[in-house]
Symmetry: C2
């Protein structure tokens, strides 16, 4: 299975990288851009006996290593 | 419109961050994980008169600032 994981700062948590990208886009002439948020995109290949088993393992990995649950949210998609 | 942009190193380009994450997952006991790639996930709000107009603007932004076309691929999704 191929897994795509998206990790983003929670709503309300200041995102300085997003603000920097937004300012850069504005200075390049893209004034129509708003609310830029920058996060991580992680692709993983995984061997798991079933989809629920994979989901449980991925949730563990995210909570332990891939995301910081205090300030970050994550979601993922599974492709078989 | 809300745009989600995914930027990843091209196939064949060495991804040291992905390798580091893979090793960390293995050392935490997730031996079933392979081929980890780490990229950027960018969310943007955009005002555009139409979907094709938005697509053209986003492609420009990616080529100029958000991705390095020499070593990175990008794709995006538009939600209206």
């Amino acid at each position: 299975m191929r897994i795509r994981i998206f990790v983003c700062l929670k709503e309300g948590v200041l995102d300085p990288q997003g603000k920097a990208v937004e300012r850069s886009l504005h200075s390049l002439g893209y004034q129509e851009v708003r609310d830029v948020r920058v996060g991580k995109y992680i692709e993983i290949s995984l061997d798991a006996p079933s989809r629920p088993a994979a989901e449980a393992r991925i949730r563990e990995m995210c909570d332990k290593l891939l995301a910081n649950p205090v300030i970050e949210d994550y979601r993922f998609e599974i492709q078989e």
